[in-house]
């Protein structure tokens, strides 16, 4: 029974997706199935998380082959909490899609692919096998290819081509790195590799491999200067899709990075410096981009990039505080970024655009929605005591504690980009909510008002749901912090992980 729990987060989406395929062309049953599936997934994720918290690292050996020989699934605190947060985002987006996804999309590809995407994410979090991780990444990118082009508008196609090409490049690099790792060790099990890799004589080669992994995951998580696909594409799909992308896709890259660089590799000085510079570049790129974008979705896209820099930098600093901060930020970011795009979706429904100069007056017409958004954006801006604040403390601490020259830049970048984030979000608030609605937009009909109560509920409830999770993270930071700290400890001391998988050290 225990073993099965690990794989259930994957299976539940696999089955939901497949069953949805049988209802091809019929949106209503798919909607219901999807809600049911994501809700069940949430319950399962909770159960898994609790079990891991109480019993420690859990392992399932698929096909019953013991560790380095089969594919092992491992749930430690990190992976199980990622699964948990993913399930929140999944549930919210599923709920949102009930009214937020146009009928044509919902009829065909959306729901099955959506579930396969969630499945891929859960798989990537839980797998304990390097090549299996590659497969999960492919599942994720294939699903995202479909979702990002679903609907077939010109902008989607244009973004899609860039998205597809650059992500495929990332996959190839990832595969190349896997080839090298297998060539060096003859094994693919992460725990086994954690033991084997340090014994390789040519450590220079290991560093190269680490770099390749970093580049591969770096493209996926959109770090500077590898980020281009993200601002090219994230604004094009419907908001529900963009939400799941924003909340989860780049984050799985960060997750993989954190996993690889704590379990298999340890950043050396060169690597630390490189990653810190990259993280600085990422923060600046995102911040500078966000300042000048006038479209909500485009601006949010750059904010995603900006905040990836925080986490990547946390990895480079490589102390318990830094890793804990990065992980905490990761959780927070998953919830917030998903929510931001859902909010953008509602705004688009209301005003027919997400272009800020054309928006305005929402404070007047939708005051409670405005309040909801305020919670979200101030959490993102890191306003204490909301969720974005806590990890920043850790990151600052780690940045100061590190003595390398690059860490100073990291701290400066952290301050600068936090300030820009605050500015950008406050400006967005001003433009979207406070400002009077420009006259040119008056004739655009409000698509939100005429919706039925249920539909309105399905659009607003997920935002409330995610916002309350964000609030919870912020106000009961102790819980999340404990988890983040435990994760950081797990990362710095992978022995329990290895022991659980291999049965020995």
């Amino acid at each position: 029974m225990i073993q099965h729990l690990i794989i259930l987060p994957v299976l539940v989406h696999l089955i939901t997706g497949t069953v949805n395929l049988f209802f091809w062309g019929k949106p209503q049953p798919q909607r219901v199935m999807s809600l049911l599936g994501t809700f069940t997934a949430m319950l399962i994720a909770f159960a898994l998380f609790n079990q891991v918290r109480s019993e420690g690292v859990m392992v399932m050996h698929a096909a019953n082959w013991k560790a380095p020989f089969g594919i092992s699934f491992v749930a430690d605190t990190f992976s199980s909490s990622m699964v948990l947060f993913t399930s929140f985002a999944g549930f919210a987006v599923s709920l949102f899609s009930a009214a937020g996804i146009s009928a044509v999309r919902a009829q065909y590809a959306f729901y099955p692919i959506f579930h396969f995407l969630l499945m891929g994410l859960n798989g990537a979090f839980l797998t304990g096998d390097l090549f299996n991780l590659y497969v999960w990444f492919e599942v994720i990118i294939m699903a995202s290819f479909v979702l990002i082009t679903l609907g077939g508008s010109k902008a989607q196609m244009e973004g899609g081509v860039k998205y597809v090409s650059l992500n495929l490049l990332a996959s190839v690099i990832f595969l190349t790195a896997i080839a090298i790792v297998y060539g060096l060790t003859g094994t693919l099990n992460l725990a086994d590799l954690a033991i084997t890799l340090p014994n390789i004589k040519n450590q220079g080669l290991i560093n190269i491999t680490a770099l390749l992994f970093f580049i591969g995951f770096g493209i996926k998580s959109a770090v500077f200067p590898l980020y281009f696909w993200l601002p090219s594409s994230y604004h094009t799909p419907p908001s529900a899709v963009a939400a799941i992308f924003a909340g989860l896709l780049t984050k799985v890259g960060v997750y993989a990075m954190l996993r690889m660089f704590t379990l298999l590799f340890h950043p050396d000085d060169f690597m630390t410096a490189i990653i810190l510079i990259i993280s600085l570049g990422t923060m600046l790129t995102g911040a500078l981009g966000a300042i000048i974008k006038t479209d909500l979705k485009r601006m949010f896209s750059y904010l995603i990039i900006c905040h990836i820099g925080y986490m990547v930098g946390g990895l480079a600093l490589f102390t318990q505080a830094a890793l804990g901060g990065a992980v905490f930020y990761l959780f927070h970011d998953m919830m917030i970024k998903t929510n931001l795009f859902l909010i953008a979706g509602v705004i688009k429904k209301i005003r027919g655009t997400t272009n800020m100069p054309k928006l305005g007056g929402l404070y007047h017409s939708y005051p409670k929605f405005a309040l909801l958004v305020a919670i979200v954006i101030f959490s993102l801006a890191g306003t204490p005591p909301l969720s974005g604040f806590w990890p920043k403390i850790y990151l600052f601490q780690a940045g100061f504690a590190n003595t390398s020259w690059a860490s100073n830049y990291y701290v400066i970048g952290l301050i600068f980009s936090s300030l820009i984030t605050l500015y950008v979000l406050a400006k967005m608030w001003k433009d979207v909510f406070w400002k009077k609605q420009p006259d040119t937009q008056i004739h655009v009909p409000d698509h939100f008002q005429p919706l039925s109560f249920m539909k309105k509920l399905s659009l607003i409830l997920p935002i409330v749901f995610l916002a309350s999770i964000t609030l919870y993270i912020g106000l009961d930071a102790e819980r999340v912090l404990t988890v983040a700290n435990d994760i950081a400890k797990e990362m710095l001391n992978p022995k329990p992980y290895i022991k659980a998988v291999l049965g020995h050290l």
Binding site: Q3, H4, I7, L11, T18, L21, W24, A62, A63, N64
Partner: protein, 138 residues
């Protein structure tokens, strides 16, 4: 395109290819082959039919859209892989019949898994090709 030679040749090649695909599928566990290649060969048979007789006719021949193979195949694979869970074994664990069956040899869940793969591959390939040629007609 009306091409007698191709059509006639196709008519006798298709059964051959299909036969061959099943052959590849069933022997995969012991020899080169397996569900994947088998599925590809089977779909190539229908592609050939499509080239010779136009894709619409191929669709008519198949009676239902090949995309239906996908969920069916997936279900077969999924069921055969989660079946062990009900016997208190991890996912994917091979379950085998005690005695080898004639012709097929040892029959276990992995055979059904491979059959699922076979069906999915057929469904996928044909769906892609037929969708493309269908939209090309418009």
């Amino acid at each position: 395109m009306k091409n007698i030679i191709l059509r006639t040749a196709t008519a006798y090649l298709i059964p051959l290819l299909l036969l061959f695909s099943v052959f590849l599928l069933l022997r995969g566990h012991y020899h080169p082959g397996g569900g994947f290649v088998g599925g590809l060969v089977a779909s190539i048979a229908f592609v050939l039919h499509g080239f010779a007789f136009k894709m619409q006719n191929t669709l008519r021949l198949m009676k239902f859209h090949p995309s239906k193979f996908i969920p069916v195949g997936l279900s077969v694979s999924i069921i055969s892989s989660i079946l062990p869970m009900f016997f208190k074994k991890p996912v994917m664990t091979g379950l085998w019949l005690n005695k080898p069956l004639p012709i097929l040899g040892n029959v276990g869940t992995s055979l059904f898994f491979d059959i699922g793969v076979y069906l999915v591959v057929i469904g996928v390939t044909l769906n892609i090709l037929f969708t493309i040629s269908d939209s090309g007609q418009q």
